[in-house]
């Protein structure tokens, strides 16, 4: 019972990273990016290449890949989403679907369908109060918590984070106040890319590295972002923890094959009872 809750907590905190990326991108760019799953996959494979083919240790490999992937996201935005920016969320969403297909299958083309794992030596699970935690879980826990803390400082204390929130809140007003929205968009992609890269690596460590790995997290990630209220960073974090714990606990009652149904039910419930999410503000369109 406690063990399941702990596993759920770890899953949740991993999901928090991409959920935060989704919510930041949605806040600034106003569309739901369905390519985030495939983006995590590509980043995970980048680290895999550095780790197993160039024999880099995990930490520098992850840092290097995260920075590189941040720049790649800026590039992808330039090529795919920038020309479509004025066409509305629906078109951008379909474009992100297409981008997701491309990214996932580039990974498949390069490494095939076989599941892979990082070159890390096995370690003994650690026991604490009858809870078994393996090293991957602890790394995930520490890294994700650290990343969320950095994001919190960035969004609340740093000028760039404040500017991002300003653009998310009211783009026109932000522009009037002299905020360069093009630069903010680039920064948002860069930060989202780093979050997705770290998320992808943690998922790869926790499960396995395979082409559909990222896409299989799409529903929990979006459920977390919607539960927290799309556009609310704190909401995404809390939402992710809740989704992780609830779906893991639910496997005690429902067959694990249908685990994905829990986040789906959560989304349906929010849409019916509290469409603005836990932390979002109800707003009237136009």
């Amino acid at each position: 019972m406690l063990q399941t809750a702990f596993n759920g907590l770890v899953t949740g905190i991993i999901v928090a990273l991409p959920a935060l990326a989704v919510t930041l991108l949605f806040g600034v760019l106003k569309f739901a990016n369905f390519a985030v799953g495939a983006m995590m996959t590509v980043a995970a494979y980048m680290v895999y290449a550095l780790n197993t083919e160039l024999d880099w240790p995990m930490l520098p490999a992850t840092v290097a890949a995260a920075v590189a992937f941040g720049f790649m996201c800026i590039l992808m935005d330039l090529v795919t989403f920038k020309p479509l920016r004025e066409r509305g969320g629906l078109t951008l969403m379909v474009a992100s679907l297409g981008l997701g297909f491309v990214l996932e299958n580039v990974a498949r083309l390069a490494y095939g369908n076989a599941a892979r794992s990082y070159a890390m030596d096995l370690a003994r699970p650690f026991r604490f109060m009858d809870i078994r935690m393996n090293r991957e879980q602890m790394i995930a826990f520490v890294v994700a918590t650290l990343a969320m803390a950095v994001m919190y400082v960035l969004l609340t204390r740093m000028p760039i984070g404040r500017a991002m929130r300003a653009v998310a809140d009211n783009p026109a007003l932000a522009q009037v106040r002299g905020i360069d929205s093009a630069a903010i968009i680039r920064w948002t992609w860069f930060i989202a890319g780093m979050l997705l890269a770290v998320g992808g690596v943690l998922i790869g460590m926790d499960r396995a590295i395979e082409p559909p790995m990222g896409a299989s997290y799409l529903i929990p990630v979006f459920a977390a972002a919607i539960l927290g209220g799309l556009g609310s960073p704190l909401g995404a974090f809390v939402g992710a923890l809740l989704i992780g714990i609830v779906s893991e606990m639910a496997t005690l009652v429902i067959p694990p094959n249908y685990r994905i149904g829990i986040p789906l039910l959560v989304i349906a419930a929010i849409l019916i009872f509290r469409p603005q999410g836990l932390f979002g503000q109800a707003h009237i369109r136009r």
């Binding site: 369905f34 078109t91 498949r108 849409l271």
Partner: protein, 316 residues
């Protein structure tokens, strides 16, 4: 060779109906369906199971599949009860589609899981000799595509069609004008679902064997590609788009001798090409290849509207 062309024609037909369904939901109604593959699977499995386990004949099984998928789609649209933003709806459809695929994969007692269902009967399969059956199937499929096109053209030019487009363009304005947006959305999605059920049934009849791998993301990729290429909202354009996409996809089988790639890799390359094509079309050809057709059609049909002798219009 002629045999191959006939078989290709059948595939193009039922893919065309699937693309028409997406075109109605997304192109005309503005409701993105990312769970298309799952609903398609639901159609094929419903039709097959109604025949194999329910003892229905082919006609009623296909009809049943259409009703089932239509009802499920309507129910999904109903979840958007209070929110009208497309982002939420897209993720719900994605999730439902995934759930449907999981049911097909895991409920062995019903769907035989990964093994799939075999020996699916087909319409008049006993009376028509196997050698000439493809020709019958092609004729049937073409007739169904034409029937769908006719029905959709009628529907999109009816008052309901105008409501559909109004909801797509601006649901707030539509609601302000007294249109019931939720009910319109439920109907849009359900009608699309009925077509998906028909396409799924034809899929089951054609292959006579279905398993979960036939309903993977490539179905979604190609259907979106067909709708975008054909021009969103243009029914005939969508069928042509589906034909072009399917011919390219199936034609790439012949590329196997030219490029030294494994089957997995070839499949990956296909999806990459579709994904890139999708983005390029969205950027450079947002109205699809049949833009002119569509413009003329809308002009012709909207010109008589402001005539004074239409008091009925206000009543609808």
């Amino acid at each position: 060779m002629i045999e191959f062309i006939v078989l290709m024609g059948i595939v193009v037909c039922f893919s065309g109906i699937l693309a028409l369904a997406l075109n109605f939901q997304w192109g005309l109604g503005g409701m993105v369906n990312f769970g298309l593959a799952g609903f398609y699977a639901l159609g094929a499995y419903s039709c097959a199971l109604l025949m194999l386990k329910g003892g229905f004949n082919t006609f009623f099984a296909a009809l049943g599949a259409m009703v089932i998928v239509g009802a499920v789609c309507g129910l999904v649209a109903f979840v958007t009860l209070r929110v009208t933003e497309e982002d939420y709806f897209a993720i719900v459809t994605l999730g439902v589609g995934e759930m449907l695929r999981l049911v097909a994969l895991n409920e062995d007692w019903l769907t035989k899981g990964a093994l799939g269902l075999t020996g699916i009967p087909r319409p008049l399969g006993a009376t028509i000799p196997p050698t000439s059956y493809p020709y019958f199937m092609l004729a049937l499929s073409i007739a169904l595509v034409i029937a769908c096109l006719w029905a959709l053209n009628r529907l999109s030019r009816s008052p309901f069609g105008r409501v559909v487009r109004a909801v797509r363009e601006d649901d707030v304005v539509a609601a302000t004008l007294g249109k019931n947006v939720l009910w319109a959305r439920v109907r849009i999605f359900a009608i699309g679902g009925v077509l998906i059920g028909l396409a799924g049934s034809l899929h089951a009849f054609y292959y006579q064997y279905i398993d979960p791998t036939q309903f993977s993301t490539i179905v979604i990729a190609y259907a979106f590609m067909a709708v975008i290429a054909g021009g969103r909202g243009a029914h005939l354009g969508t069928v042509l788009g589906a034909a072009v996409v399917m011919l390219l996809l199936e034609g790439s089988r012949f590329a196997k001798e030219l490029v030294p790639l494994e089957a997995d890799q070839l499949a990956a390359v296909r999806i990459i090409i579709i994904g890139v094509g999708l983005i390029l079309l969205l950027i450079y050809r947002p109205h699809g290849f049949l833009r002119e057709y569509r413009l003329q059609a809308t002009l012709k049909e909207e010109r008589p509207e402001p005539q004074p002798n239409t008091p009925k219009e206000a009543a609808t």
